[in-house]
Each structure stands twice: as C-alpha cells, then as structure tokens.
Amino acid sequence: MNSTLSLLAVILALCLSAGVPTARALDANGQIEDPVLQARFERITKDLRCLVCQNESIADSNVELASDLRRQVREMLSAGKSDDAIFDFMTDRYGDFVRFNPPLEPKTLLIWGAPFLVLVLGVIIIFRVVRRRSRMPLDDEPAPGSR
C-alpha cells in the first residue's frame, strides 16, 4: 500500500515536471536533474552530428564544440523549449547535415527514396529472371527438336 502510494507520487511528479519547466532543472554543475528532461537530452544529442568528427554524435564526442552544443541543448531544455525548437536552432546555424535524421524534403528525396528504388529495381530483375527461366525447358525434359 505504502509502496503503491510512493510510486503514484513519483509518477505524478514525473508528469508535472514534464509539462512545467522548472527553474531548478539544472543543478550546480549545469547537469540536468530531472530524469524526463535527461531522457530527452540524451535522445536529442544522439541525433545531432558533431561537425568536427562527422560520424560521431554530440552525445558521444569529446571535442569542445560538442560540449558547447550539449550545454546549449541542456539550457534550451531547461528553458522549456520543445524538441523541434532545439533542432531548428541547430539546423538554422549548421544546416540539415547537423541532424542524423534529415527531414523529408525535395532535396533529401533521393536519400529517403533510395532504399525503395533499389527494392523496386530488385523486384523487376527477379521478375524478369523468373519469367525467362519459366519459359526454358526443364532439364529432364528433352528440348524440342533435340535428338
């Protein structure tokens, strides 16, 4: 009974903290205290490319620019900014390349469409091969006109 109550209290606290940005979201070391914000922070920083070491995310990178950008994300989260607002902030400054998940738009159509293009191409090739083979005589059947 007691544990159920405390669990409820925790859930309530989490729900409240998710909606209302608190002034105390960052502790003395500039780290995020709230676990919900921390989860968002981890998700966002994993999707942002470190432009110095281009195949690492700013969550993984140790270079100074990455830590400056992590600080930026932390501050925007604690100020109650939405995920989209943070991504927009980054792409306004660094371009779409800063995101590991580029948005779907005319420019990026080929990136998103390529897998489907290859799939269609593969289906066409298989279809042609199968059709040709089905017209061939079976091995154990003598071809017409032979012998």
Binding site: L51, V52, Q54, E64, L65, D68, L69, Q72, T91, D92, R93, Y94, G95, F97
Partner: protein, 179 residues
C-alpha cells in the same frame, strides 16, 4: 541487349559517383552555410587586447566587412595569417577577428608576434557567438554586405588567390548593389 546495357549503366553511374566523391579538390569537411543570404548574427564581446573594450559587429553596420574566425590552437590559422596581413594592408574592407576556444593571453601574444591585420578582435569566451555563426572549425571567413547579410563563407586558410578569386568580385558586386 540487357547483358550489355545493365553493366554499362552501372559502370557509368559508379564512374560519375567516384568522380564527385573521390575528387581530391573537394573538401569533405567544407559544409554549405545556412547563413548565406541571411542577416549576420550580431555579437557583443570584448576585445582580445583589452577586456574592458567592447567589440560588436553592429558597429560595422552599413558597410561591407569580413569576419575571420581563428584560434591559436589552429595551425591553419597561422598559415593564413601572412595572407590576412597583406589583404588588410590593401584596406578594401575591415576584417573583424573572432577568437574562440582559446585563452586571451595566448591570442594577445599571437597578434603581438605575428602582426595584427584586424580592425578589431572579439574574444568569444564561451563559444556562444561561434555557435550563432555556425562555426565548427577554424579558420572560417565570412563576408557580410552593406545590408548586414552574410553573402559568402570560406572554410580553409585564406590565400591571395582565394581573396582575388572569391572575395574581391563579391565585394565589388555588393558595392554595386549597395550604391
């Protein structure tokens, strides 16, 4: 027909891909700046030489100017410094320096030893101005027109050749447009 056409098309496609992708002249780290054509982010920082003196690009509003981002940790910045000194002597447009990820004393020493081509040198203490300008390395050089818009960004050490080929025509065009 297909037996010939398919491998041939694949070959041409790969050749085109490699011609672009493996071109040694193409710098894979040079990314297009989304700032081009947009208003230059304003900054208000302190001078490298004197922490009590303010440096802001709003003071240069209405004229064409260059923002050159550098740091003493950056070997390529040392490379381009000579070219910047020569360019500054021509007095075509003012060059504002922006030092980031650095220590003030080191930057000061650098300018005293190598010479100072800058109209002013701003010291970005916490890297926020660099983020606003989308800086991800050094050297980076921005050209801002009389309307306060970023019209060009060059990523790599500045040279006389780059100055004449990329900057001077754009400055001339911006002057014509502004006049």
């Amino acid at each position: 027909m297909w037996k010939f056409l398919l491998p041939f098309t694949a070959f041409v496609a790969l050749a085109v891909l490699f011609a672009f992708g493996l071109n040694p002249k193409r710098d894979i780290h040079a990314l297009p700046s989304p700032l081009i054509g947009k208003a230059a982010p304003s900054f208000s920082l302190t001078d490298v030489m004197d922490p009590n003196r303010a440096v802001s690009n709003t003071a240069f509003k209405g004229q064409i100017y260059i923002v050159n981002v550098w740091g003493t940790w950056c070997e390529a910045c040392r490379q381009e410094h000579e070219a910047l000194l020569v360019i500054a002597q021509q007095q075509v447009v003012p060059i504002i320096g922006l030092v980031f990820m650095d220590q003030r004393d080191k930057a000061k020493q650098w300018l005293e030893q190598l010479g100072n081509p800058y109209a002013a040198v701003a010291f970005d203490t916490d890297g926020r101005t660099a983020i606003d300008w989308g800086v991800y390395g050094a050297p980076e050089t921005f050209l801002v027109d009389g309307q306060g818009r970023v019209i060009y960004k060059f990523i790599s050490p500045m040279t006389q050749e780059v100055w004449q080929r990329e900057f001077l025509p754009r400055i001339a065009a911006a002057r014509r447009a502004g006049a």
